[in-house]
């Protein structure tokens, strides 16, 4: 299934400037794997060897996936995955 992925400003150089892209898979981890195929380099910005990078938060709709089932969190077609990294500026 395909869901909407919202990409923060910091990562849009990897998505040709697109704020929203489509991701395919049945879990958050599979969505990220699919994103990597379509937008090479994005997976490394989100994950490290231990899982989700410490300064990045992934929200499935309104919920941080770290409070769900992490990368194994199941997704459905109507879901939106939002990437929220630490930002600075003002």
């Amino acid at each position: 299934m395909a869901i909407t992925v919202r990409v923060p400003t910091q990562l849009r150089t990897l998505t040709a400037g697109k704020e929203e892209v489509s991701g395919t898979g049945s879990t958050v981890g599979e969505i990220i794997d699919h994103l990597e195929g379509a937008h090479p380099g994005i997976k490394d910005r989100l994950l490290d060897a231990k899982g989700i990078r410490r300064f990045v938060n992934l929200y499935l709709n309104e919920d941080d996936v770290r409070f769900l089932d992490g990368l194994n969190t199941p997704v459905k077609d109507t879901d939106t995955l939002t990437i929220v990294p630490a930002i600075a500026g003002g």
Binding site: P8, R53, R54, Y59, D64, I87, A88, G89, G90
Partner: protein, 219 residues
């Protein structure tokens, strides 16, 4: 004695936050080493063209004095660095942190934890902004949510740009959270609020304290 709030970074966030707090009768300690640049003026609402080249803390102090006569404003024209951060922040009742770089955000969190002073973190890039109020012992702190400093360069507003209305919204929210914390209301502590000024959406997610957090763990 009125409470005193430290404002770290007198920029797009610090200007509206400082003004709102001063108007509410809160004394301020403004901390920023930078001088006003013309490129700041579209979002740093306390400054005018005549202020270009002046220290931000001094220009902000003078602007606040005109708008809120009698407001108590201290100025510290220096960056927050590990060697002096604790001295700069000692004695304040709360901290409003709107700095433009991640190392200062993490340093503020670390020092505030040691002093047990509540802190409101704010940030903006392009059309997006976030606010995280922290009250030690109630909900998450900055290192609970963003555990450690990224080892790569992250985009900031100097690269991606930032829109003036968004910084004013986030700065006002920071001031509101600071006032709530000063009143002892911790109901929003640990809530990461995210504002998207382009889509006109506002979301808030409550984070619990993270087990093993170096700041929130056993002391």
């Amino acid at each position: 004695m009125s409470p005193i709030v430290a404002v770290i970074g007198v920029g797009g966030l610090g200007c509206p936050a400082a003004l709102a707090l001063a108007e509410a009768g809160v004394a301020l300690r403004l901390i920023d080493e930078d001088s006003v640049e013309r490129s700041n003026l579209h979002r740093q609402v306390l400054f005018t063209d005549a202020d270009v080249g002046r220290r931000k803390v001094e220009a902000a102090r003078d602007a606040i004095a005109k708008i809120a006569p009698g407001a108590r404003v201290e100025t510290r024209a220096e960056h927050l660095v590990p060697e002096s951060a604790e001295e700069l922040l000692r004695g304040v009742s709360a901290i409003v942190e709107g700095s433009d770089n991640l190392p200062t955000k993490f340093l503020t969190a670390d020092v505030a934890a040691g002093l047990r002073v509540p802190v409101v973190h704010g940030a903006c890039v392009a059309w997006h902004g976030t606010v995280l109020p922290v009250s030690w012992g109630d909900g998450a702190c900055y290192r609970c949510v963003f555990e450690e400093l990224p080892d790569e360069e992250m985009t900031n507003c100097a690269i991606a740009g930032v829109y003036g209305p968004v910084t004013s919204v986030i700065g006002a929210l920071m001031a509101a959270d600071a006032l709530r914390l000063l009143r002892g209301d911790r109901s929003t502590a640990g809530n990461l609020a995210r504002y998207d000024g382009w889509r006109q959406t506002f979301r808030s997610t409550r984070f619990p304290r993270r087990q093993g957090c170096p700041l929130c763990g056993e002391r």
